[in-house]
Symmetry: C2
Subunit: 121 residues, 2 copies
Amino acid sequence: MPNQTHLDLDRVFHALADPTRRAIVRRLSRGPASVSELAKPFTLAMPSLLQHLQVLEESRLIRSEKTGRVRTCEMQPSALSLAEAWLLEQRTLWQGRLERMETYVAALKSKEKQHGKRHTK
Amino acid sequence: MPNQTHLDLDRVFHALADPTRRAIVRRLSRGPASVSELAKPFTLAMPSLLQHLQVLEESRLIRSEKTGRVRTCEMQPSALSLAEAWLLEQRTLWQGRLERMETYVAALKSKEKQHGKRHTK
């Protein structure tokens, strides 16, 4: 895995490891919002909120743009996809292992059965 | 979302925000391994590795069991599922929004067309 992808995954997973930041991502999944709209549901001081937004921007989960005095944030779904792809990869490996185990157990059972038949003859 | 789920997601995403811990999860996706087997591919001192394993155990991504002098680690796929479910939820919200936008744009276009027809009559 290239170093850049490692760094990106580090940032994305780190950004998602906080309930406020996950709540912001969830809000932005429904559409863009200004910083003051994002601030409303939280009992956070503005500097803390801005810090969370900075972590989210650095992870590229969101991006923001300032028009006049209003900064609007929006989600960037590609960073979520990166995390999803990594999780899916592990699930695929895991399921592959389960399937191999199933095949192995089935083979053992069939061997056992044949062995049993030989002994009852 | 219940507080316990928040805490679990915090721990899972935090555990995954490190390349060594992700490499351990990936290794264990292919099947259980002893701590010394896990240590081999890394140029890490044993105390650091044990610390990583502790973070992974606390997140419930892995569990370990000691038999005699050998500690064996294995993956717990349910913690991965928790993270996957959260990501999927955001994707569903995002796609729902895109679909609503599509419907809205199509409605606007059809209105525009009817308006155009009236003006050319």
